[in-house]
Symmetry: C2
């Protein structure tokens, strides 16, 4: 799909076998593609779909989007992508923080890391600055936690650097390892968490990517007036929408916890219950209260990226006011909280800190530990046991190696039939039996059970009706795929119906194009069908678009519903005949 | 496909939830279907292809064939089948021994074991006799090795019983657990080894199936003269063919070891080398010499089933002449011998004994331990280390749980890219890089890397030519699928070109039918396409019909060839247009 207009940005290609780094111009036809969509294009073209995810043929791609070069609230996210060692399919995982912006200032839309070092003990820092792009020996940082690592790298390269890095989990090639990206304050807490992309980075022998703050690439804005007009309206929409102006800034993503628990849709006790009796103790209100009480560094809400107006993030301090994590999010509060029967925020924050430090996806890890507790190996509610299990993973003990592969493998080794997975990846904090729309999203997204592809949880429709969600999830998945391709935060979709049109207008202003709003639908579909095609070649079929067997049969209290959407709906979900044009 | 003629035989259906046993008449249209083909028909009809292999929707089927009721050499094998916990697809694994005959004498063509006990600690013996078919509490046999188990069951039910049973590995639901069937001498050494069918039996709460020797079902032979004439010629063919009259009886399957080693196709040192410098020490000649020298119970060669003229089996004694295993086969001598760098026959026999006792597939186990050694965790050639690793599996330690899941999972946990698997199942003792025909068979059979679906190793064609094996393997797979459906030993295919016609003539005589030789091709294709259809529904696609990545890239000495058959050959391998009619 060729798009007109735009400016020159580059792809940086790093061959880890040859230690060769080359800059290539981004093909002009992809100038409006970034993040998820660009990753799909690159992987489809360059990676054999059946390759070993941790072998030399896989490639790790980091990409920002076409809005990262300008300062727009909720844009500029960074995506990582590769063939996933967890799902076996294509994977993209995006996060906030400053890496996306730093790359843009270096004139880079995407990094492609290919091949792997011949000596498997070799490990490198990829350093990107205006004057030198190089691979630096990183043996001294081996098996270092992300917190100490980024401190050391800030000391070495300056504290304004953007850093993407892995912890010990990624170095040990674990399938639940993510990539940590630094935020504005230098916390390595913005995770491209899902799908084991940290293991792919580890397999390439890259411990960290450091992007210095000396970039001076500036995108020439083609039609400044058109851009500014759209930007102004865009800001107004965000400032006036209740969710982005009040809900998120006040309570963050955790704000919804009591509601979800009352709805019976908060995974608790290893996905056995939908209402958590201590939901109030892990609520957004309680979180805000505690942060204020302890007088931590940040305000109760916080922006993970420069210029963000939504500010859904937080900085959680310990009893002495010292920062533990930034930010404690809904997903972690559930998977490492209610799902383990744990309600103490300090315990959950420590679990989150450990996951961040080891470089682990807190969703996959929480789901796995829940499954392990459910087998009777540890008691629900025992926070010390949970912390010790995360430490087993971080240390790479034999038990840790098993747990570090995630729920599906842990279930196979210990013989549970209750792995809460789709395509090998754990379901997040939106229980599909009580949220039928999420059931649709989890089953049908090419990404495995990844909630971010289309969260339907807050939608005002009957969440228990199995018949009304197909079209809704499909349309939202397309919309999110487009937003993910432009590097926009998905929260911005809650800022009202004018946002998509304004986003396209801003693009038109910047790149001198003249698209209408349906441009988003066109790229969204293109992105998803590109991913579907990769997955089909990789061996993922309709048989993989389904809820786990136990969720189809085990009634989920309090509603005692099962995952009951007929399979044939999923089987034909992506049939092209659904689209009018 | 309706077939005319025949007599009444039954299916015994056992519901493990309700503890209900019912006899059903085998549909008349399936009267000539047994073993693999009947299993395919039953599973396709009754088991949802996407079900959890160890869940309640899977079914374990045991079946014999239409020749089991009469006494014909090399017929009467027993097959086990289910959705495999190892490959995720359909699986059939057959073995010799007397279980097939005992079932036939009870008038049973197939056992279907469905559902599972509600209390997961419940375990039963399924006892089948003329007067009573019942589930007997088996708590006293829990976690008992197969050798002691069958002794205890012979004491209880008479030593003429046929027994199919599992060891601790099956009870622990390990994906490398097989089902042990007793031979004429009461050894539990005839394994339906591959695909984790022992775990499926374990998941059903069945420790053993005991078929007493009081059956008096007799098949009315419709045209005795026609049958006898064909049988006479059939016997003559077996007695006159060099392989079945001299090769197998003298040296058994091990006879080929030195040749294969010279050909560079004997997997050695975890599939790193094709020639084993100590091949002579594990050869059929050496095996025969040692058995004679030690004056063990049996002659050097031995029949695993009554009436067998081929007698490829052996009884291997220890230094005192006491039986260790019956029989020490080529596959085990390779996977637990050369593949581990072990050349002492007593060590290999002990490894085999341990596998039999724990109820483990010696192929999957040997491949897994080889991979573990290759990672540096134990030394090649260290037989004590290998035995200890098998004991870890049998005891179900954490390491044992991992190894017990087979090569693919062990590789994932310990991060090897050298799992020698297709569809999750380990390649057997015929290295595909040096035997291109085996590459084709392994890649394309619906059974995962299962050599028995079409062994091309002994074929007098250029084994290193990648272009000449497609049609050969396809035709042989169809032929073997037919033989597997009639309960015939695959070795009989080496007894000359008249065998297929004579087999059909015997069937015509017994069942009053009037088929020509192409009947075998018709059922062979029907069987394979039925299996392919199940696999497609289960999510197995063309992406799974391929050699492991390392075999496509790592040159295999001494020929330094790779698995180089172009993937497109595999992709279109089962295209129906290949058949003339």
């Amino acid at each position: 799909m060729p798009f007109a207009g735009g400016d020159t940005v580059d792809i940086l290609r790093v061959n880890m076998k040859e230690k060769r780094i080359v800059r290539e111009e981004l093909p002009q036809g992809l100038i409006l593609y970034g993040n998820r969509g660009l990753i799909g294009k690159i992987l489809s073209k360059e990676v054999p779909a059946t390759c070993e995810p941790l072998g030399r043929h896989n490639k790790l791609v980091l990409a920002n989007g076409p809005l990262a070069s300008v300062s727009i609230s909720s844009s500029g996210r960074v995506s990582a992508g590769a063939k996933s060692p967890l799902t076996g399919g294509i994977k993209e995982a995006n996060s906030g923080g400053i890496v996306g912006f730093r790359l843009a200032r270096q004139g880079i839309r995407a990094l492609i890391i290919e091949e792997k070092p011949e000596n498997k003990d070799d490990v490198f820092i990829l350093r990107i600055s205006k004057d030198a792009t190089e691979l630096v020996d990183a043996k001294e940082y081996k098996m270092m936690g992300t917190h100490e690592l980024v401190q050391r790298l800030f000391e070495r390269y300056g504290e304004k650097c953007g850093i993407s890095c892995i912890g010990p989990a990624g170095e040990m090639l674990m399938a639940s390892a993510g990539i940590a990206n630094t935020d504005r304050d230098g916390n390595p807490s913005r995770f491209s968490g899902r799908g084991g992309l940290g293991a792919v980075m580890g397999s390439k022998g890259i411990k960290a990517i450091v992007i210095e703050n000396d970039g001076n690439h500036k995108l020439e804005i083609k039609n400044r007036e058109r851009y500014r007009a759209a930007l102004k309206d865009y800001i107004n929409e965000i400032r006036n929408a209740p969710q982005t102006s009040v809900g998120y800034p006040l309570y963050g993503t955790a704000g919804i916890i009591p509601t979800i628990s009352v709805m019976g849709a908060l995974p608790s006790y290893a996905f056995r219950k939908g209402s958590f009796e201590k939901a109030d103790e892990i609520s957004g209100e309680r979180l805000r209260e505690l942060i204020l009480e302890r007088g931590g560094e940040g305000t109760p809400t916080h922006a993970c990226m420069p210029g963000c107006l939504v500010r859904s993030s937080n900085i959680f301090p310990d009893k002495t006011g010292k920062k533990v994590v930034a930010s404690l999010e809904y997903e972690t509060l559930c998977l490492c909280g209610s799902n383990l029967g744990i309600s103490n925020l300090d315990d959950i924050a420590e679990l989150n800190y450990l996951c961040n430090d080891y470089g682990l996806d807190s969703i996959e890890t929480g789901a796995t530990i829940g499954l392990y507790m459910d087998l009777g190996f540890a008691d629900f509610g025992n926070a010390e046991a949970a912390k010790n299990l995360v430490k087993e993973i971080g240390k790479g003990t034999l038990l840790g190696k098993v747990l570090g592969e995630g729920s599906a493998i842990t279930a196979r080794i210990f013989k549970s039939l209750r792995a809460p997975v789709v395509k090998g990846q754990s379901i997040a904090a939106h229980e599909p039996r009580a949220l039928k729309g999420m059931s649709v999203t989890y089953a049908t997204t090419p990404m495995g059970a990844d909630h971010t592809t289309a969260v339907t949880t807050r939608v005002q429709k009957n969440q228990l009706d199995p018949n009304i969600w197909m079209e809704y999830s499909r349309d939202l998945q397309v919309k999110i795929a487009a937003f993910d391709t432009l590097g926009l935060c998905m929260f911005i979709t809650t800022a009202g119906p004018k946002i998509p049109g304004l986003v396209v207008e801003m693009l038109n202003g910047i790149y001198g194009t003249d698209y209408t709003t349906d441009f988003l639908e066109i790229i969204g579909k293109d992105v998803i069908y590109t991913e579907k095609e990769f997955n089909t070649k990789a061996g993922i079929s309709a048989a993989d678009d389904r809820m786990p067997e136990f969720m189809r049969e085990e009634p989920f209290p309090p509603h005692n519903t099962v995952a009951d959407i007929p399979q044939e709906h999923y089987d034909k979900f992506w049939d092209r005949s659904f689209w009018k044009q």
